[in-house]
Amino acid sequence: MIQYIIRRLLLAIPTVLGVCFVTFLLFNVFASPEAVARKQLGKNPTSDQVKAWVSAHGMDKPMFFNLKPDKDGHVHAFDSRFWNHMKELVFFQFPESDYLHEKVSDLLKQKIGPSLTITIPAFLLSILVTLPMALFIAYYRGTYIDRFALFICVILMSIVLLNYIIFGQYLLAVVFKYFPIYGYDFGVGAWKFVLLPIILAVAAGLGSGVRFYRTVMLNEVRADYVRTAMAKGVSEEGILFKHVLKNAMIPILTITVLSIPFLITGSLLLEIYFGIPGMGNLMINAINSADYPVIRTLVYVYSLLYIAGSILTDISYTLVDPRVTFA
């Protein structure tokens, strides 16, 4: 297994490098350093201020190769925007945020916690709620219960997350005052601020989750081995909870495990609306203020998470499906 992981990680390196390159292009080719400087310096900076800012951030260096000798007459060919960018990311020497003037790595450490206090409970609660519901519906497949539940799922799915948040927040926090509207408390006090976001996140995902799990299970129910099990005399419960469920785990696991690394990135909308100082909030603020160091670091982290997720998924496949081995 270790061999497999190492091989996957090695294969992932070109992808990560590609991601770094693309982000470099996006922000250096598509947005001129002057424009970024102007955004950072606030209202009406002088051209000197702009130049100083650009210089201080190393953005006046050549794009790819620096062939101009410096004061001592040495040529540092790799002292260019591109290579500095790559060095920073690959060696995890994350820079300082332009806007917030803190090291990005510190920012990350601060922001991951709040995001996790929402995403992890939402993730677990979602599975605990949707999977049994889907099993229940699969048991009554073909009956009116099934059709009715399916219709409800489609209705729930047709409501945008934004609507869940706005209506939910308004009704439950403002009108009925069951929950605080906004804000966050670090430490133990956090629970009352994250409860409503968690509930809304689970509610928004209920429709599509139940439908997906139901589809997966009904797919399995049509299989030949179910017919064999019935011919053996296995009960309906036995078929669903033993035979079907274990086979259904395979596609379910793909989706579920793949999303685990992204629990760290947090939900943009939830964090904005409820004032949770998490990773989502960080991302949006960075985008709005063109905080390039934060953005490129976040993108890099994001791509690492994606790769971690797909490796985890493949490993979990081998654990659940005996037909799959590390090949």
Binding site: D224, A231, K232, N247, P322
Partner: protein, 325 residues
């Protein structure tokens, strides 16, 4: 000879959007202890539906058993509830299917799957059930049975998988084994082994076998009695020897004539004209009359009844029964 299985006038219909499909429309057969009945016919004639009806495994929308009676070892099957049926399935009567590749659950070991069959129907603990599973795996000819218990289905060949299915079906010593095209998906070289296995186990335990197939060669080897099905009805039935030596019904005749072995070298292979009608649109009168070289006017008006043509040999055909145009 006691009758283990007695089907009388069974009717299983499927209610689809295009009207009712009368897949099985008045079938009566019986199988006795230690005997093998071969149920023969082309694809789509209703053989598998008949088999599934015995264990009441017809998918309930859109199918339904609408008439007739099925008796297993004296028990009336059709009035039984689903819970009561579960008791019968696997214990009183077992079924093995055509596709061994997909008929076993891929995520459980074969040992687990056989043990499951045992433990559902008995009070045995795991250790006892395991012993029975090992015993039957050995009986069906799987080498190193105890080690094989831990294998997964995908690690076995098609033939071995089918042997496992047979072990699973027979480990509780059922009175009836229904084998739905058990060798169709297997290599010819493996087929003989499986068929011989079924025969041996039948001799040992006295199980009645309902063998469903479209292969006349297999029928010749295995069956004591034969019933030929066409378009949801039995058109000819009787002892195997009788049918093979002196078939009567024009459809049976067509089947035999189509065998390549019976054709002279160099001449064209015989085919029965036309094609099997769909179950939603059977022709009136005798269902075979549109393809039958002997058809007379009465054939398109009235359905022929099964009449004896000698001994236990029966045939449903107006012309063969002596009617003339």
């Amino acid at each position: 000879m006691e009758e283990v299985l007695k089907i009388e006038n069974l009717k299983t219909h499927f209610f689809t959007g295009e009207g009712p499909a009368r897949a099985v429309d008045g079938v009566s057969v019986s199988v006795g202890k230690k005997r093998t009945l071969g149920l023969v016919g082309e694809s789509g004639c209703g053989k598998t539906v008949t088999a599934l009806s015995i264990l009441k495994l017809i998918p309930s929308p859109p199918g339904r058993i609408v008439g007739g009676s099925i008796t297993l070892s004296g028990k009336e099957i059709l009035p039984l509830s689903e819970v009561e049926m579960r008791d019968i399935r696997g214990k009183l009567a077992s079924m093995i299917f055509q596709e061994p590749m997909t008929s076993l659950n891929p995520v459980f070991t074969i040992g687990t799957q056989i043990m499951e069959a045992v433990r559902i129907h008995t009070d045995m603990g795991r250790a006892e059930a395991r012993e029975i599973a090992v015993e039957y795996l050995a009986k069906v000819g799987i080498p190193e049975a105890r080690r094989m218990m831990l294998q997964y289905p995908h690690q076995l060949s098609g033939g071995m998988k089918q042997r496992v299915m047979i072990a699973m079906a027979l480990c509780l010593k059922p009175s009836l084994l229904i084998a739905d095209e058990p060798t169709t998906a297997l290599d010819v070289t493996i087929q003989a082994g499986i068929l011989r296995l079924i025969q041996d186990l039948q001799a040992e335990s006295g199980t009645a076998v309902l063998l469903i197939t479209h292969d006349l060669g297999i029928v010749a080897e295995m069956a004591d009695e034969v019933a030929v099905m066409y378009a949801g009805k039995i058109v000819e039935s009787g002892p195997c020897i009788s049918i093979f030596s002196s078939f009567v019904h024009p459809y049976t005749e067509g089947l035999f004539k189509s065998l390549p072995g019976r054709t002279e070298k160099g001449s064209r292979l015989y085919t029965i004209a036309g094609s099997v009608p769909s179950a939603t649109g059977f022709p009136p009168g005798c269902r075979f009359h549109t393809r039958c070289p002997l058809a007379i006017e009465k054939c398109s008006l009235e359905e022929p009844l099964l009449v004896e043509v000698g001994g236990d040999h029966r045939c449903a055909c107006w012309v063969r029964a002596g009617e003339s145009a």
